[in-house]
């Protein structure tokens, strides 16, 4: 098997997890403030507790969220490493430079003046 193919299987669950807008929103919430509990995350979404749990489970299985217990509380942390692996393996150094120049341009154009 090609070395690159092993990465593809590892990262399959990451792409699947990121494909859903609710799950991306949950990651954004943790990016904003890490270590939130289910109750805290649930309060930000118009969704049942069970629905939020299901999404968090998919994120945990993809390793985009790592949980830690402290006392009775379970805290959720954003793990950026799987996204970093995608970045480091697939984004060519030179492409990256061009992309960041384009992103700067996009940000400048979109900035409210």
């Amino acid at each position: 098997m090609l070395l690159g193919m092993a990465d593809d299987t590892d990262l399959h669950s990451v792409f699947r997890a990121l494909a859903d807008p609710t799950r991306r929103f949950l990651l954004d919430l943790l990016f904003e403030r890490d270590g939130r509990t289910l109750t805290e995350l649930e309060s930000e979404l118009a969704m049942s507790r069970f629905g939020v749990m299901k999404h968090l489970k998919v994120l945990e299985e993809a390793d985009l969220v790592v949980t830690r217990r402290s006392g009775r509380e379970k805290h959720h942390f954003l793990n950026p490493v799987p996204i970093r692996l995608i970045h480091d393996r697939w984004i060519d150094k030179y492409t990256e430079r061009n992309v960041s120049a384009l992103l700067d341009l996009k940000n400048q154009l979109e900035e409210p003046s």
Partner: protein, 173 residues
């Protein structure tokens, strides 16, 4: 009791990577100075592996020259700390202070935990960095200064370590 503004969890960063290697190989890559000089920010990490033992990270010549050419005077020890808990090849807890930058040095000691767990065919390595009272260092280890040449923080280090252990070479650069 945890509130919406629980400071301890809000200032903790957690990183996890799966590596196809033995726990011993990962342990060595974290604690052996010849290994630590081969990935991430490089530099020789010297641990006195017993509770109360010292941690000192000494930069290599290339790193020193690079830092100085960018206008950062590079100290002889770039990170220091003290070993709190050591359980090879499973767990290592140390205090950790960055000395490269006066603002980060002034923030004092943080707490860094490495945990290695064996799974089917690979190991997980989890890095937990408790960064209470160290917002400048927190931004750096989160990789926020990468575009300014400050490196990609823990996520970048772990990606590079995975590459080194699985393929024998670090990522480009």
């Amino acid at each position: 009791m945890t509130t919406a503004t629980d400071p301890a969890t809000a200032t903790t960063q957690v990183y996890r990577v799966y590596i196809k290697a033995t726990p011993e190989a990962i342990w060595t890559a974290i604690t052996d100075p010849e290994w630590t000089n081969r990935y991430g920010y490089t530099g020789y990490s010297h641990y006195d592996l017993r509770p109360g033992g010292a941690l000192k990270v000494v930069p290599n010549e290339e790193f020193k020259a690079g830092a100085e050419s960018q206008g950062f005077p590079c100290p002889d020890v770039i990170v220091d700390g003290e070993v709190i808990e050591v359980d090879p090849p499973r767990k290592l807890v140390t205090t950790w202070r960055m000395l490269m930058d006066p603002a980060m040095a002034a923030e004092g000691f943080t707490k860094l935990t490495y945990e290695i767990e064996q799974h089917d065919g690979s190991c997980s390595l989890t890095v937990t960095h408790d960064l209470a009272g160290a917002p400048t260092l927190a931004a750096m280890v989160a990789g926020e200064g990468e575009a300014q040449g400050a490196g990609g923080g823990h996520a970048w280090i772990l990606s590079d370590l995975k590459s080194l252990l699985e393929t024998g070479t670090p990522l480009a650069g």
